[in-house]
Amino acid sequence: MKRTIIIILSLIFSLSACREYIDIEIDEKEKVLVLNGFINTDSTVRINLAQSLGVLESNNNFKFVSDAQVDLYEDGQMIESLQYDSLGFYSGTSRPEAGKNYEIRASAGSFEMISSNAFIPRPVPVKEVNSDFTLDSVVEQWWNPQTQQYFDTTFVRMSEEGTIEVKFDDPPDEKNYYFLTFNCLMPIYKWQDGYEVRIGEQMVSLSYDINTLSYENYLYMRNFSGYVISDDFFNGQTYALTARIYSWAFSEYAYGSYNALPLSPIYVNLHSVSEEFFDFVISYSKYDETAYNPFAEPVNVLSNVENGYGFFTGYSTLTDSIGFN
């Protein structure tokens, strides 16, 4: 219906409307530093610094910041300065701990110093993982350009959608937020002499759905996509989340290839995240929904960086896995 109304309005426009470029006194603000970073208990700290862009500036002007002084604080005490590696990333040697607060303070050139805090919530163990998949063997003929012949190869695939049930005990008397991701290993191929050669494998995120949650709760990131969940309705209880995994999503990445690779396990990651993380995902979804509707009031994506923009947060993770024979 949205589209129809917009089509009707477009029709009105096409009859009479005109467009022109105009000069409105745009309050061109000074550029500021943009800090982005997800830190977690499984890896050392790594954050990214870039510059903001003016509203009329081209995307081509996008710049990372490589000469910044970036200091990391743990519970108010400075513990190290992060070192620049590449593409705006600054890395440290510290591994964040759950239950602690981390702060980044960064300054570069004439930019105003920025700072942001992230609290690492304590991880919540996955109590139980149950899956319901039907796997089929499929024999297909593939063409081998080297031998110039077809050959039979056997694939193992999910025959239809599967489900994964993830159970955990939500800690009582506190507000908890979760981010659930499923990963599997994807072979990486490269074309060589007209032939696909496997050069390694990488971890990717699996798309999934949860019936009780809307897309507003979904965050898409390469290798880190999933739904955010608050414990509003199950505080202090054992909760079972049922995720629907699509066969196409899993097959695309993880089926055994004609190189007869074993089917990748599915890694179930229950991340304990902050309320800010939850709010960030919701605000981004809302931003995305209204960004192209000129008749709707726009939405700010949550930013938690003082004197700058961006989002810095932390999480802790406990992982389980589902293996396939």
């Binding site: 009479s16 995307n59 390694g200």
Partner: protein
């Protein structure tokens, strides 16, 4: 109670009835030619200005005078005054018929009324002036005339939305013959639902609301329909660029029963039909039928049972409809697709006027209104599966609306010339339909069938109100209207009550100048959910609930009224208004949100709104000449309007979208002679406040995708990424100022049976490209270039000439 109190009460009673040796003259004032009652006519003793009154909305007056010989003058604008001599011995009931005639003397009465009345912040526009104003596409529009008044901000260009003293559009009580109209828009607000031919009188109250009005915070727009000619059949018809309208009125039983029927319909769909056929014939196997139209019908019957009893039945029905029907054939397969979007109002009122005695007039009204918005989409596919013809079909329908059933009793009691008391009560049964969707799916081949409904269930609420007000004079200089409005609202086992004091007064500095002041509290039990800047039919009316309190406002106003020479009236007013419990969608939530995400179509709309406050203050100036060869007005408003919501714009106060520092409107009309008249309208307004980004940056998720791609082992050399815009606070920019000149000229000629008029008008005469909206991205259909960003302004209406033809029977 102390003895002192008892004494004071007795003293008051004694004073009240001290003038008991008097008689009362009461009755109706009506048009001698048509028999239509004349509200607002003056009835006064020319020898004693303190002895006078004004007819009420039904043309009734009551005046109590000493038992003596005296004369009363009855006058009304556009009519010859009538002087009646009395030798008063007993109460007298009269029907006074005025002949249309010279205007000058009545004009003076009108001007004096404005100065002498205790009512402030009220503006009325003669319907004759509205019909002569140059308008968009030749369609007369009451709401667009209202937008030109001081203290009224217009909405998005071309639409009829109006915002009074910083209020929202839902805070206007728009009454058609006393029945609230919920959706006043045709074609997304570009035209209003009110047909000028059916209207008798329009008045707007912006503050100092008398106790008889309630239920909305910001204004009362009282639109009264014509009653129908009691003497002879009259009619008029006109045809313009997009619509034609017709009106017929006359007696069913002469001097006893009359009727009026007016209708209007657009014909964009009829004009587009040949194009549709052409499109269909050009594409083999496809037929397409699409269109849009609106219509409205006003009808009214009134019957006089006696001089004391009269019955009215009035009905309005209007509808907008957009539709697309497509049929495709591929070999033996066929595919049908239907889309239907329609919305409309039905309002009806059955009213009984009764004169109980010479001092007491009563009015009992039953009303029913129904606003509904329906959208339906369906697909049907017939195909040959090899085992026979199979059929697969699905349909989705969405319905929302509001339905009211109400009863109201209003009494006018005039015990003394210095007191006019009004009291009454009302009850409304509301049915809110926040949105129900129906889904149907049938598949012969798969043998599947689904038929289900989901969405928000109906909400039922009861609203009642009782009121009393006394419009009284103390001496020659002071006049007050003091009253109270007590109302209640019951919903979901929750009961809300509200006591709203209404005070207004005037101090007569001289016969031509008065000082006025008022203080009112208003409560509104209805909320309106919208996040669009145009009048979409998807905007929802919702009740206060156990979780969302009613809206409430307090308004202070003070001003001066001057009656100048040559029928010129000048008013200067200042106001301060505070509003509580305003609602707004949470950031990003909208009607179009997925039901599960709690958009209005979902079950939890109450979770998706913010509750906040509003402030508005400013000053208004109006110089008006209502009648005569040269008439019109000049209005200027200086105002500030702000809103504050805890989770919007970081909880800070931000300017309301229609916060306009300056609003100027000039509307002038000049009659060269009986054959030619001309109208000019010029408006200027500070640009609307809009939310635009101040900077952009790459958010953490896009950054991850971007840097991953930069390191992608596949070695792609194109990196697609998006930045997000940072807006800061809401409504942080001002669009360029809005201004526009409209010019119209009417040529009238007498014909054998009536008068024909050619009306030529030019909307936006100097082709000002006023901003409809602005966008950084590119064009309206979403094509944009992130590498070459520019701020683009979209204008809707360039210079638009129009012509219309009207024929009016003699």
């Amino acid at each position: 109670m102390s003895k002192k109190c008892v004494f004071l009460v007795l003293l008051a009673f004694t004073a009240f009835f001290a003038e008991a040796q008097k008689v009362t003259v009461s009755g109706y004032v009506e048009d001698a030619e048509s028999g239509e009652r004349l509200p607002g006519a003056g009835v006064y003793n020319p020898d004693n200005p303190l002895q006078g009154t004004v007819t009420n909305n039904y043309g009734f007056f009551s005046i109590t005078l000493p038992q003596e010989d005296l004369s009363l003058t009855v006058s009304f604008v556009g009519y010859a005054p009538q002087k009646i001599d009395f030798d008063l011995k007993k109460d007298t009931l009269l029907t006074i018929r005025l002949q249309a005639g010279t205007e000058l003397e009545e004009v003076l009465v009108e001007g004096e009324n404005q100065v002498k009345s205790s009512q402030m912040s009220e503006v009325s526009i003669p319907i004759k002036s509205i019909l002569k104003m140059p308008v968009l596409l030749g369609e007369t529009d009451v709401l667009k005339a209202v937008q030109l008044l001081p203290g009224v901000q217009s909405g998005t260009e071309g639409t009829g939305g109006f915002y009074v003293r910083g209020g929202s559009s839902d805070q206007n009580l728009i009454l058609l013959d006393g029945v609230p109209v919920y959706n006043v828009n045709h074609l997304f607000g570009f035209f209003s639902v009110f047909n000028g031919y059916a209207i008798n009188d329009v008045s707007l109250i912006k503050g100092g609301f008398p106790a008889r009005y309630g239920g909305r915070l910001s204004s009362v727009l009282d639109i009264r329909m014509k009653e129908g000619n009691m003497k002879k059949i009259r009619g008029e018809a006109s045809s313009g660029i997009i619509a034609s309208k017709i009106s017929v009125e006359g007696p069913i039983i002469k001097d006893k029963t009359s009727f009026i029927v007016s209708g209007r319909r657009t014909y964009l769909d009829l004009l587009a039909a040949p194009i549709m056929r052409l499109v269909s014939s050009a594409s083999y196997g496809t037929s397409l039928n699409a269109g849009y139209f609106f219509y409205d019908i006003n009808a009214k019957v009134n019957h006089r049972f006696s001089q004391r009893d009269r019955l009215y039945l009035s009905v309005y029905a209007g509808k907008d409809k957009a539709y697309v029907k497509a049929h495709d054939e591929y070999g033996s397969d066929s595919y049908n697709s239907d889309f239907d979007l329609h919305w409309g109002n039905l309002t009806s009122a059955l009213r009984w006027n009764h004169i109980f005695n010479s001092k007491l007039f009563g009015n009992l009204t039953f009303t029913y209104s129904d606003y509904r918005f329906v959208t339906a989409v369906s697909d049907e596919w017939e195909y040959n599966s090899g085992q026979g013809v199979e059929k697969q079909e699905w349909a989705v329908e969405y319905l929302s609306g509001i339905e009211d059933l109400a009863i109201k009793i209003d009494m006018d009691y005039s015990p003394l010339p210095s007191h006019n008391i009004k009291f009454g009560a009302s009850g409304i049964y509301h049915v809110f339909k926040p949105g129900v969707s129906a889904f149907r799916y049938n598949d012969n081949y798969e043998n599947m069938s689904v038929d289900t409904t989901f969405g928000s269930g109906n909400l039922y609420a009861q609203e009642f109100a009782v009121y009393a007000e006394d419009d009284f004079r103390i001496g020659k200089r002071f006049k007050f209207n003091i009253g109270g409005h007590f109302s209640g609202f019951s919903v979901r086992d929750t009961m809300y009550y509200s006591v709203q004091p209404r005070l207004s007064g005037r101090f007569l500095i001289s016969d031509k100048i008065s000082l006025k002041a008022s203080y009112v509290q208003m409560t509104q039990y209805l909320h309106f959910l919208t996040n669009s800047t145009i009048g979409l039919p998807t905007d929802l009316w919702l009740p206060a609930t156990d979780r969302i309190s009613p809206q409430h406002s307090e308004q202070y106003a003070a001003g001066l009224a001057f009656s100048l020479k040559n029928d010129l009236n000048l008013t200067l007013e200042g106001f301060y208004k505070e509003m509580q419990n305003l609602i707004e969608y949470q950031e990003g939530a909208s009607f179009f949100s997925d039901p599960e995400s709690g958009g209005a179509a979902g079950e939890s709309w109450e979770d998706k709104i913010e509750i906040g406050r509003g402030w508005s203050y400013g000053g208004e100036f109006m110089l008006q000449k209502k009648y005569g060869q040269f008439n019109g007005w000049l209005a200027y408003t200086l105002s500030w309007t702000e809103r504050q919501f805890e989770n919007i714009a970081f909880g800070e106060r931000f300017p309301f979208r229609y916060d306009r520092r300056h609003d100027i409107s000039v509307s002038l009309s000049y009659e060269f002679n009986d054959k030619v008249d001309m109208g000019i309208t010029w408006v200027y307004g500070t640009g609307n406040a809009v939310t635009l980004a101040t900077q952009r940056y790459m958010p953490v998720n896009e950054l991850a995708n971007y840097t991953e791609q930069l390191q992608d082992p596949y070695g792609y050399d194109y990196y697609y990424y998006e930045t997000v815009e940072y807006y800061g606070t809401r409504n942080n920019y001002r669009l360029p100022a809005y201004h526009r000149l409209d010019v119209g000229i009417n040529f009238t000629k007498e014909k054998t049976f009536g008068y024909r008029t050619w009306s030529i008008a030019v909307y936006n005469a100097y082709n000002r490209k006023n901003p409809f909206f602005v966008d950084f991205r590119g064009d309206f259909l979403g094509n944009y270039n992130e590498d070459n960003r520019q701020l683009v302004k979209y204008s809707l209406f360039p210079i638009i000439p129009s012509v219309s033809y009207t024929y009016k029977l003699k």
